[in-house]
Symmetry: none
DNA sequence: ACTTGACTAGGGGCTAGCCCCTAGTCCTTC
DNA sequence: GAAGGACTAGGGGCTAGCCCCTAGTCAAGT
């Protein structure tokens, strides 16, 4: 089985190569250090599988996935995410990836994923499966990831370190209304205080760190 | 040569292990998935070398370095940074690390670094050496780290949305002491609440958004 | 017409956060 | 051995934050 590795960290690439080549039937046929290189190599060399890091220069793993799937549909793709959450899971599947593995997980998960892809099956870790099920089931609860415009405004101002009173003045509202918007936003997002809201706001690009 | 590996990503740990154990005289005697575990294992098992990722839960690699150097000075330390810059280089050296290697670099650099540390020599990649020289030449002003190690620990935990009480439990301190560290940190940084500390912590790379 | 959801506002209560202060033990440095 | 800084801990006080609840208006969809 011919595998292509793409990650912008040389040391990590070498580590992955060692890890994979301990399996006698897996051969790492190439290493790419950015998304564009990964795409070009995948399309030119047609490996059985390309393992792509999400975060890479030039093209992200997801962008590379789309282009590889379009031009070399026989190349399967496994996304490797360094982030300890599933925020790219859906996008990865939509882009055409066969599997999604977090770097935080055990090496055996990666091998399992490669084996699954080899058999033509998709591979999701239990965490990823749970996230996916939650998403399908949860029209009511977790699906409401989206805040209303007003809630977003309030969250943004909270994350900019304004007090409720200041926000009330800025938006010409009562302090109580501000509290309600903040509280509703936190409830929707499953958060417990403004500190968590700050990190959410930064992740969402509502404010700069 | 007995080596301890610490990185919060299981797959990366396994990769590093494979990479290192290709050298016949290197034996990986332990893996830690966070900074506190790394510190405990280093102090208990006394490996010849501990390879620590900068960004880890509970304690950063730098915080772990300080504690290991204090309690087990015979354990050499190599800092592995995932960031493509040298922003932690000086702090790492000050904390007592023998070497600083970026994950973006080739695997041979890591092996070279291990060999250098084995001979009792410090190891810096050419990029790191250049940054160091620049700093010595450029001299003085901006090298004020501002926060003490303890203050940084507290700030990190605050930014991870822990309450003062939780932080006190995690660090085995009284709530009052935690308040003092937080308050002193905020005063030094000219900040007015924990929300601003979160953004500071993210900018400084103490936590991920 | 009726329901639903966003937006608004308030009452009332508890606690965490933030501030001021003092004070002790270790250090290192001068 | 004195001085300064880091780290520890506590007293006492005020307020902002967070929670529960109700309740109104308005626009949009069924």
């Amino acid at each position: 089985m011919k595998v292509l590795i793409a990650d912008d960290h040389g040391i990590v690439r070498s580590g992955l190569r060692m890890l994979l080549e301990r399996q006698t039937d897996i051969e790492v046929v190439g290493e790419a250090s950015d998304g564009a290189e990964a795409r070009d190599m995948a399309i030119r060399d047609r490996p059985d599988l390309a393992i792509l890091d999400v975060k890479m220069p030039k093209l992200t793993g997801l962008q590379a996935t789309r282009e590889i799937r379009a031009q070399a549909p026989d190349v399967s793709i496994l996304i490797l995410s360094m982030y300890d959450d599933e925020r790219y899971l859906f996008e990865a599947l939509k882009a055409g990836a066969s599997g999604y593995v977090l770097k935080a997980q055990a090496d055996s998960d990666l091998i399992d994923a490669v084996r699954a892809v080899e058999r033509g099956e998709p591979f999701l870790t239990p965490e990823a499966q749970r996230a996916l099920i939650q998403d399908v089931l949860g029209e009511g609860s977790h699906r409401e990831d989206e805040l209303t415009p007003r809630e977003q405004e309030v969250v943004k101002l909270v994350a900019e370190a304004h007090t409720n009173r200041e926000i009330a003045e800025i938006l010409h509202l009562s302090e109580k209304t501000v509290e309600n918007h903040r509280s509703n936003a936190m409830k929707k997002l499953g958060m417990r205080d403004r500190v968590e809201l700050v990190r959410y706001a930064i992740r969402k690009g509502l404010i700069e760190p």
